[in-house]
């Protein structure tokens, strides 16, 4: 049904807005630590208010109820009745987490209230009921509200209709005769309240008789047509309650006088047309909350969750919010493309070779540029700023540093650096792990830092920038750096290394990327175990990226991640083996060398090694793995492409290197299936297909073959 689809779409928008609102609340709350800020509190309040309203409208009662308490607390803070304390901010941050969880549950189709929300909810109510410390300096000039205690959650609107004493209790079913005296103020029309319409509403409730009093109407020459000079007496017969009548006149209560009289019951006290006075809203009773049950936990603010706050669904997989500038740019480019096309089209009709050829060439160059720009523009649509990922870190670092009792200053740079949506999503968890590592193992305790002559506060820097066709993300800390001795010892202990192996400092550093490696004395629950650096590296290489670590013992470490700007396009090196051309991602290529025969060695009769600088690299004969007839089987007459993946380096033998170019990646498994050794395919300018090499699986295939042939030889 289209209607349900439309509603579902609107509810989706609500979820997205809620995510954004929760983000705004979180960053607003974090900024309150620096000092109470009127504007920030207002923003936070509005965000909560919006979420509450939307949740109620779209049927998410739990979220609405929960947010109501949050909103009430924020309201007190914004009008000055309650001061901003670190504790309140902490509880509100936890409330934001709980709300995130509830939104996620609602989004998944299973709306509910998780246990965490109960704890935080109870704490909120405690605070609301507890003593209030009014703000020292009133942050707003709002009139002091009479209400210092929370409003009851969603009461039926009827409770608000405390207009005047009730003459009679609701007469269920029985017919009544009401006399209503309606005396509007002269200004009634200025608010566009139309007596006629109100009377029509009354008419739908029963039998209505209307009597108008026009004595108040001034002489024609003095009449002010925008003023109301009439009043009415209305008689209504029907099974009508006073509440129903009050509802009809609800909007005009403040700019008219209304009196209700029930005439059918003898002895009912008349209710003269005194100006209707709204009885002050009854002091709302404190909402019944299960405080008793949660008392022990409520003693101190509940411990924040050690896991990262409920996953942020800003970066939602199924839809993208695109800035209008990007769309406008696209529209312009398509316009240019159409013009260029038509320009060239004209040549199809009678070209005069020679002069026209030059114009044709120029037109084609235009076209080529247009198409390239269009392509870049379209790809940019999927790009989002890395701030989406970086945004979780202020909170994370704050909580972790508290937990670890370390002082940390977080610096974020390059938050506007854009990268592909999917890359952004997938780099999130690895970054979190790296940051945790830095905090847990890298940065020292304040005491240790002072002892080694450093400042008490450690610095953790997250930096992102573009370089060529890649995005570089750096995680830098000025902590203890990597301890080579410890790493070597651990590696030897785990038999990851031969006892006599001699490694360069860089090689020792890279040992931490080996599976199961962890030098932590105790497995702290902060970084955990198992999700080691090897998984981080795997995640990064799966994205077509590259990670390396550089460190100076005692001074700190820098982890440098290189990621492709987009997953759809690759910076590729074309290469040829025999009659076949392949593309290899530039990111995996360290360098290409012309091998010197004296650098080539054969071990045990078949394993071929190439001495590259200080390393011995295995030679991977691409022609063997792919069963191609090469130009020559002699390594010395070919080229060796030194490639790296997962910390392993190989030298790939090819016949010739061709151009470097950007290629569009097309998958093989759409119509066929994954082929080991290949990452996909691309289409050349001439229309032919070139295959893209996948270095990690190539290396795996190679290792398997080598092992097999060793087995055979044995």
């Amino acid at each position: 049904m289209t209607i349900d689809l439309e509603m579902a779409e609107i509810i989706n928008v609500f979820f997205q807005e809620s995510d954004e609102g929760l983000d705004a609340m979180e960053s607003g709350l974090l900024s309150l630590e620096g000092g109470s800020d009127c504007e920030a509190i207002n923003t936070i309040f509005r965000a909560a208010h919006s979420i509450k309203g939307g949740a109620g409208t779209f049927g998410f009662g739990e979220i609405s109820k929960f947010t109501h308490a949050v909103e009430t607390l924020l309201d007190q803070m914004r009008n000055g009745t309650r001061g901003v304390s670190a504790e309140t901010v902490q509880v509100l941050l936890q409330a934001v987490d709980a709300m995130r969880e509830m939104v996620a549950l609602a989004r998944a189709g299973t709306p509910g209230r998780p246990a965490a929300a109960d704890a935080v909810g109870a704490r909120l109510i405690e605070i609301l009921e507890g003593p209030v410390d009014p703000a020292e300096a009133p942050t707003t000039t709002a009139a002091p509200e009479a209400v210092a205690t929370p409003e009851p959650p969603a009461q039926a609107p009827a409770a608000a209709f405390a207009a005047g004493p009730l003459v009679q209790p609701a007469a269920p079913g029985g017919p009544a005769h009401w006399r209503i005296r309606f005396v509007p103020h002269a200004s009634l029309f200025e608010t566009c309240n139309d007596p006629l319409r109100m009377f029509m509403q009354l008419e739908s409730l029963g039998r209505l008789t209307v009597q108008v009093f026009s004595k108040g109407v001034p002489a024609l020459t003095e009449i002010e047509p925008t003023q109301c000079h009439l009043s009415w007496t209305l008689d209504l017969h029907g099974a009508v309650t006073q509440e129903q009548l009050v509802e009809v006149f609800d909007w005009v209560d403040s700019n008219s006088s209304i009196g209700y009289e029930r005439l059918d019951e003898p002895g009912s006290p008349g209710n003269l047309p005194a100006p209707a006075v709204r009885a002050p809203a009854p002091m709302p009773e404190p909402p019944s909350a299960p405080t008793a049950a949660v008392a022990p936990a409520a003693a101190a603010a509940p411990e924040g969750p050690t896991a990262a706050p409920a996953s942020r669904a800003n970066v939602d997989a199924s839809s993208i919010r695109v800035g209008t500038e990007k769309v406008d740019a696209l529209i312009n480019l398509v316009g240019e493309l159409v013009i260029t096309q038509s320009m060239l089209g004209r040549f199809a009709e009678g070209a005069d070779a020679g002069k026209d050829l030059e114009l044709l060439r120029r037109g084609l160059a235009h076209l080529s540029r247009n198409t390239r720009e269009l392509q870049e523009s379209v790809l940019k649509i999927r790009m989002l700023p890395i701030s989406f990922s970086f945004n979780r870190f202020p909170r994370l670092v704050r909580e972790l540093s508290r937990k670890l009792e370390k002082k940390v200053e977080l610096r974020l740079r390059g938050e506007n650096t854009e990268l592909d949506k999917i890359v952004l999503e997938k780099i999130g968890d690895p970054l979190v792990h790296l940051v945790r590592n830095s905090l847990d193992h890298g940065l020292e305790s304040p005491a240790a830092r002072i002892a080694s002559g450093k400042s008490e506060t450690g610095v953790l820097e997250l930096n992102a920038y573009h370089q060529g066709g890649s995005v570089i993300i750096e995680v830098k800390d000025d902590g203890a750096g990597l301890d080579c001795t410890k790493i070597l010892a651990k590696a030897r202990e785990r038999h990851l290394l031969a006892d006599d192996a001699v490694l360069s400092e860089e090689q020792i550093h890279n040992l931490i990327f080996l599976p199961g490696f962890s030098t932590a004395e105790s497995v702290s629950d902060v970084s955990g175990r198992g999700v080691g650096m090897d998984v981080v590296r795997r995640n990064i290489t799966d994205l077509g990226g590259h990670v390396q670590i550089s460190s100076e013992q005692g001074r700190g470490s820098t982890i440098r991640i290189r990621l492709p700007l987009t997953l759809a396009i690759l910076e590729g090196q074309m290469l040829r083996v025999g009659r076949e051309t392949y593309v290899m991602s530039l990111v995996s290529i360290i360098e290409t060398v012309q091998p010197r025969p004296d650098h080539l060695h054969t071990v045990s009769g078949h394993a071929e090694l190439f001495k590259h600088r200080d390393e011995y690299l295995p030679v991977l004969r691409l022609h063997e793995i792919f069963d191609i007839e090469p130009d020559s089987r002699d390594i010395a007459s070919g080229l060796l492409v030194v490639a790296e993946s997962d910390g392993r380096r190989v030298a790939i033998l090819v016949d010739e290197l061709q151009a470097q170019q950007q290629v569009v990646i097309k998958s093989l498994d759409r119509n066929y299936k994954q082929v080991p050794g290949l990452a996909g395919a691309t289409i050349h300018g001439d229309g032919t297909v070139a295959l893209i090499l996948d270095v990690p699986s190539l290396i795996a295939k190679f290792s398997a073959r080598t092992a097999a042939s060793v087995g055979r030889a044995a």
Binding site: A154, N193, W251
Partner: protein, 120 residues
């Protein structure tokens, strides 16, 4: 000639819900994301009804009503505020600014349409 309704709310989902409900009922709808946008629109185009949220950035609903009432074309256009039930004083402030009435949030589509019929 169908009636044109201007709906003002900083929440896109709320705007869309109101818009969707009203359009289905045959009204023409114009959306604005805050008071400033609404006012800019109103300066050059008239509508038959204004529905506005109260809590909005840049210009809140009550200020919007006040400003709109200054425009010749909007002196006698009914204006309804979308308010939460806790805002009793907001209702009064709204009336003082010139609002015709209000609609309490959260509301369902039926309530919205029934309320519109009271003024259109």
């Amino acid at each position: 000639m169908t009636a044109t309704i201007l709906t003002v709310d900083d929440s896109a989902s709320m705007r869309q819900m109101v818009s969707f409900t009203l359009k289905r009922a045959g009204y023409t709808v114009v959306e604005a994301a805050d008071g400033v946008e609404a006012l800019n629109y109103a300066r050059t185009s008239a509508v038959d009804l204004v529905l506005t949220d109260v809590n909005m950035p840049n210009m809140d609903g009550i200020s919007l009503v006040r400003e709109l009432r200054q425009l010749q074309a909007y002196k006698f256009v009914p204006m309804l505020m979308l308010t939460t039930e806790s805002g009793q004083d907001k209702k009064m402030q709204g009336k003082a600014a010139g609002a015709t009435g209000w609609l309490v949030k959260p509301f369902n589509p039926e309530k919205l349409l029934a309320t519109i019929v009271k003024v259109l």
